[in-house]
Symmetry: C2
Subunit: 271 residues, 2 copies
């Protein structure tokens, strides 16, 4: 595998440039990207020091520097020293200035401004943690979305991803041996999503979990016959509830979340 | 406030284009962006339909379409109909192709490839949920990072953010009336971070929480004298433990997380 040195330089947390870099790098499956992140770089001198390091390691540079004069330092340095750079923020800002006819603030780190949207997102994430795995079923009526699923259908990370998009999410485990909380029957079935998977895929994931626990791989938990019975039980239950069902086999969390949001008519993003 | 229509068009979840758009839009504090996200757009016909909607609503377009011929459809349409567009992915891909001398895969949705990194991140998020709020102190030794803090110092969202960066994080509440788990004394103090805040800021946040519970705002929980005593207790405890302490007042989760990662020497990002 080839090594690929990537510098992330930002006057804030660097999350935007890192997201762009990772998405682009994913298109090169035979390289191992080596990311170095330089955050809250707001002084010209410290920027120049970072650039010298980039030259030394012959890195490509992804940057989000809000002030055009800071961005220009990177661009000029890269040109002079034959480095490759990608400005991830100046064009988008210029474009929005054109569209709105407004002057940008040119102040770093406004995206995580501690405004009410920000606090709503934090409270959605706390809601997801408090209402994970069937805890506090009395809260199900307060949730925007309720996820049901047998063990290892990715209920927890899916809930957190949706929470990060500002939805209040609770998840409830489904198992023939566990009594479903009564509250599930009382809530709007349109906000309930039942996760399923294939026996094969679930078996693989569960054996992996046993391995990570240092246990014997072949337990009742990872036994095909039991898994099949669990999945049958879940499918019948979803039908009885009248909720939608999603097969998560070979789907990433992001894909499943997008399906849920679009079924709910949220192509409009909650801010 | 001026309205700003933003279309996010992607052949995957659209997270990258949305991140770029939100960061750019944050520079225009007097507009209300109205985002519409179109995901998993992989067919030319459905792309053209989305573009017609963009024209109707006079939206600016942020797009991440992996295949150059798809991206070109957006660019040509925008030019013809005088819309503004920003391609967030083609330049980054071209740049990495140049740097590596390799051909990109040109396959959509590889960033959430279900590889081992992906599963590590999911298991880190599950770890954070299982080890939130002092649950399961026997796991503290397995954590990469242990967060301590009095109530409402953002322990949970901070833990989740760090988990999303692949760290195994546990958090433990600090309160003079709660016994600290013995395990805290046995672990490496360099991986422990104690959160503090100002009395004023914490009082405001706690009163807000009381309000959201529909309770009287002035409780012992939101009383300045009690908060001061709690914070004093926490500071003394952090000193006794010998761990680092971070004042989160006016800091976003992202800023606090970046401080922790850099203190641990992780400017190199865990994949």
């Amino acid at each position: 595998m080839d090594k690929l040195n990537i510098f992330i330089i930002s006057d804030a947390s660097g999350q935007t440039a890192l997201t762009v870099a990772k998405t682009a790098a994913s298109q090169f499956q035979h390289t191992t990207p080596n990311y170095q992140r330089f955050t809250y770089v707001t002084e010209k001198e410290s920027l120049k020091n970072v650039l010298k390091q980039a030259e030394k390691s012959q890195s490509v540079i992804f940057h989000t520097l809000t002030k055009p004069e800071m961005s220009k330092i990177v661009i000029d340095f890269a040109k002079k020293h034959h480095l490759l750079e990608c400005d991830c923020i100046q064009k988008p800002i210029t474009m929005l200035a054109k569209q709105t006819g407004m002057e940008p603030e040119y102040v770093p780190n406004l995206v995580h401004n501690l405004n009410s949207n920000y606090f709503n997102r934090i409270s959605a994430m706390e809601f997801a943690v408090v209402n994970d795995d069937g805890k506090n079923p009395q809260n199900l009526s307060k949730a925007d979305i309720v996820i049901l699923g047998v063990s290892r259908t990715s209920k927890t990370p899916l809930s957190l991803y949706l929470a990060n998009n500002n939805f209040k999410v609770a998840n409830v485990p489904i198992n023939p041996k566990i009594q479903l909380p009564d509250q599930v029957w009382d809530i709007d079935k349109n906000k309930i999503f039942g996760l399923t998977n294939t026996v094969k895929s679930l078996k693989k994931i569960r054996r992996e979990r046993m391995r990570s626990y240092g246990m014997n791989l072949d337990t009742p938990y990872s036994n095909s016959k039991n898994i099949k019975a669990e999945l049958e039980y879940a499918k019948n239950l979803y039908k009885k509830i009248g909720c939608r069902s999603i097969n998560v086999s070979n789907k990433s969390i992001e894909e499943t979340a997008t399906i849920i949001m679009s079924k709910l008519g949220y192509s409009k993003i909650k801010n």
